[in-house]
């Protein structure tokens, strides 16, 4: 079976672990636990006629004094870039990560996940933010790790990009 390593990246507290838990185990917990280092999960998906074993590297959130080690990205085929829709500043953090990744390991296929879509009242991303992301010409999904909205779709879209690429 085809094996693909994907890395899930973004600011601390954006919901990377929750998205992975929703995608792999269909579970959600309200409790926030900081991820240390890397946690690896696996999920088999089917893209067309091909079975793919996704190895998902849930990497700790990027912080001012704790940058993501580029060695985690060795052998990665694609990225899931997560933004917290209630905190626009997490777009800047995600873009900084992306820039470093591109410098260290080159261009990788990726999708944007604008997470916490269930928090309608606290949603803080404007049209300007969206247009800014759209300019990067990558798929953008409004996801909710809580309700599961677009979680499966977004991971599958990346899997499809990996096979086509």
């Amino acid at each position: 079976m085809l094996q693909k390593k994907i890395c899930i990246l973004g600011a601390a507290g954006a919901g990377k672990t929750s998205l992975t838990a929703q995608f792999v185990y269909s579970k959600f917990s309200e409790k926030y636990l900081s991820t240390m280092g890397v946690k690896i999960d696996r999920k088999k998906v089917v893209v067309g006629d091909t079975q793919v074993n996704l190895m998902i590297w849930d990497i700790h959130g990027e912080e001012k004094f704790k940058k993501i080690t580029s060695s985690y990205l060795r052998g990665a085929s694609g990225l899931v870039m997560v933004v917290d829709g209630t905190r626009p500043e997490t777009i800047t953090i995600a873009k900084e990560i992306l820039q470093r990744v591109e410098q260290d390991v080159g261009d990788l296929p990726y999708v944007w996940l604008l997470n916490k879509a269930d928090l309608v009242d606290e949603w803080s991303l404007s049209e300007r933010h969206l247009n800014d992301l759209k300019e990067m010409n990558k798929p953008i999904y409004h996801t909710s790790a809580k309700t599961g909205e677009h979680v499966e779709d977004s991971f599958l879209a990346l899997a499809e990009m990996l096979l086509l690429g």
Binding site: G13, Y32, R74
Partner: protein
């Protein structure tokens, strides 16, 4: 420096190195093939790796990472639930090495600090958003940057104060379910508060169907009075749009009255030790409130000081008004009575 005595070396080793549960794999240069294994291998792998095994068969996370051309580190890898391992890839002259160190205890200690730090970052963001919502983005930003002091002593400056209120709201409140009233008020407030924020005003307070806003606290390209008047005009436009939708749905029409006055006020924190809020105190604040109470639905009433500072003041009509607790004053009406 003298050589460390063997006894002390053993002491340090037993306390620091042994708890790392070190294990290592010697691998063929530039390949994934294991040559030999050493140390506490059973701590990391389900079976004893043997010569000729592929590293990714023994340790799946390393799939795609080998062979390597220069040393690298994979810190805090959670190879199994709750167990953290530092993996180091080291190049030697004739072979490559992979070193596994158990850093669970240290990582769990770090996690507590990390958790506290991340919780604080999230809490700070949440507080900023709350401040944002109550006083507007610009005010929150200025407070965060220390450019606006919200202190008890207060600061005197000229501001324009605007009051807005729904006309005939009491009967509406009494004849509708509380949930409908809340929903209506939220729709209405959207249309009232956005103009305040867009004209660099500050929402001072929301009291049921009424709101008080201050202009002149924040820097603006408009004068205080002009900004307040522009905001008031936008409020009238917004209520007209809202009423259009309400009419299509067969709902009761809402009318608003607006009062604006300009003058010196003391800006500062008001309240007790446990509960304080930012507000403005000054004679003209009372005038603005009284003008609002006199304004008909669709009308903006301003005082003389505001009127004098406005461009296009010929659109106003002079009205002699008696304001409760203040007396007779000249008011200038825009809108309804024109």
């Amino acid at each position: 420096m003298n050589k460390l005595p063997e006894l002390l070396y053993q002491h340090i080793a037993s306390h620091h190195i042994k708890q790392l549960e070190l294990a290592w794999l010697k691998i063929s240069p530039n390949s994934e093939e294991i040559i030999s294994v050493g140390g506490a291998w059973q701590h990391y792998f389900q079976r004893l790796p043997v010569s000729g095994d592929s590293i990714s068969d023994i340790c799946e996370p390393l799939l795609g990472m080998l062979p390597f051309t220069k040393d690298f580190e994979l810190p805090q890898m959670q190879l199994s639930e709750g167990q953290y391992t530092d993996i180091s890839a080291v190049k030697d002259e004739e072979c490559d090495w992979l070193l596994f160190c158990d850093v669970t205890e240290h990582t769990k200690q770090l996690q507590q600090y990390q958790q506290a730090s991340n919780d604080l970052v999230l809490l700070k963001g949440e507080l900023n958003r709350t401040l944002d919502r109550y006083v507007g983005h610009h005010v929150a930003e200025r407070v965060a940057q220390g450019k606006l002091q919200l202190n008890l002593a207060g600061e005197r400056r000229e501001v324009s104060t605007l009051f807005v209120d729904i006309r005939g709201f009491t009967p509406f409140n009494e004849s509708h379910d509380a949930q409908i009233v809340m929903q209506t008020l939220n729709e209405y407030m959207d249309g009232m508060l956005a103009p305040v924020l867009s004209k660099d005003g500050m929402v001072d307070k929301i009291i049921g169907d009424g709101a008080m806003a201050l202009f002149g606290v924040l820097d603006s390209k408009y004068s205080n009075a002009q900004a307040a008047f522009f905001a008031a005009q936008d409020m009238l436009k917004n209520i007209a749009t809202l009423n259009k939708h309400r009419q299509q749905q067969g709902l009761v029409q809402l009318g608003i009255g607006i009062g604006i006055a300009t003058g010196d006020a003391v800006l500062g924190m008001l309240g007790s030790h446990d509960r304080r809020c930012f507000t403005a105190i000054g004679r003209h604040v009372n005038v603005a409130a009284r003008l609002e109470s006199k304004a008909c639905a669709g009308e903006i009433l301003v005082d003389l000081e505001t009127y004098r500072r406005l461009e296009n003041s010929d659109e106003f009509v002079l009205r002699r008004l008696f304001l409760k607790g203040i007396g007779e004053v000249d008011g200038y009406a825009y809108g309804f009575s024109k």
